[in-house]
Amino acid sequence: MKQKIKALDIIIVFAVVIGVALIAVYYFNKNDTFTSGEKTVIEFDVLAVDLTEQQAKSIEQRRGESVIFGKSNVDTGILKNVKTEPYLWLGKDILEGEYIWTPHPSHYQVILTIEKEVIETEDYFKGEKEEIRIGELTPVKGKGFGIADCYVTDIREVSK
């Protein structure tokens, strides 16, 4: 049996649509600075410490190639430079009462310089998903290597 659409049905539909629209506007409107940013290219340094010689060499071999960084596994950048140096750890001179950075006898630390085009706003530098800032835990992986416990130590703007 065909039923006529009643005025009450239309009112209910409108009320539900308005309710859903309000929820959607509130939920999706959180990141309101994203569309007001501008594109720029940055280089940032990521420090990985306490690596074996093989780990350090695995990273060095990927200089110039694309690497994935960040927790979301989406953003990629170009590994522009790899600087390997002895791993420095904090030693104590308990005679003189001093802390000293002491080179580890067999382990290394590596500074990976990654170049990436990002969106710059007042509040962040952001790639596809990752916000990049000094002090942020930023895992990096490339072909044949992966480092979880590493941090951004510097950011430089290369060009706009």
Partner: protein, 163 residues
């Protein structure tokens, strides 16, 4: 009261009535949650200040904080949780206690590392219970926060809060 067709007083279906009631409750809930409604606690938006102590940071992170002076900071979890505008930085060489061979303890410098006290100005909520961010995070001496600005992310402990 309800006739054989399921209509209340012969006019309106009981099912329609239930749906109307549900929609009214939904809209009322949306109004209260998102657009403001009667609140039990009276809070005022006002400016207050707090200091946050960060310890053992690299020089590059300190430079990043200096670049972020007069910039906004947020809780590390989400960009909408504002933690205020950074208005002052006082930095000093980082120190840590070290016990010597003779049992004495000295407060030794950590080379190439810094401690800093960051001062923030925040327009938040203030009432008798305390000071709150706009999203109702409690700003109170002793609480630690992971915060982020444009250039730096740090973890610090609130030292002092005042108006």
């Amino acid at each position: 009261m309800i006739d054989k067709n399921g209509k209340l007083f012969g006019k309106i279906s009981i099912v329609d009535l239930a749906v109307i009631a549900a929609v009214v409750i939904l809209l009322a809930g949306i109004y209260v949650r998102f657009l403001g409604g009667p609140t039990k606690t009276v809070v005022q938006s006002s400016d207050f200040y707090y200091t946050l102590e960060v310890k053992n940071i690299r020089e590059s992170n300190l430079r990043g904080l200096e670049k972020s002076l007069n910039g906004r900071f947020y809780l590390n979890e989400k960009i909408t949780s504002e933690m205020g505008v950074l208005i002052n930085i006082e930095s000093s060489p980082a120190k840590r206690f070290l016990e010597l061979t003779d049992g004495r303890t000295v407060d030794a410098d950590l080379p190439e590392r810094f401690d800093a006290i960051l001062t923030f100005k925040l327009t938040g909520r203030v009432n008798d219970r305390g000071y709150f961010t706009p999203t109702l995070n409690h700003i109170s001496s002793g609480i630690s926060y992971n915060i982020k600005g444009k250039y730096s992310a740090v973890t610090g402990k609130v030292l002092k809060v005042w108006e």
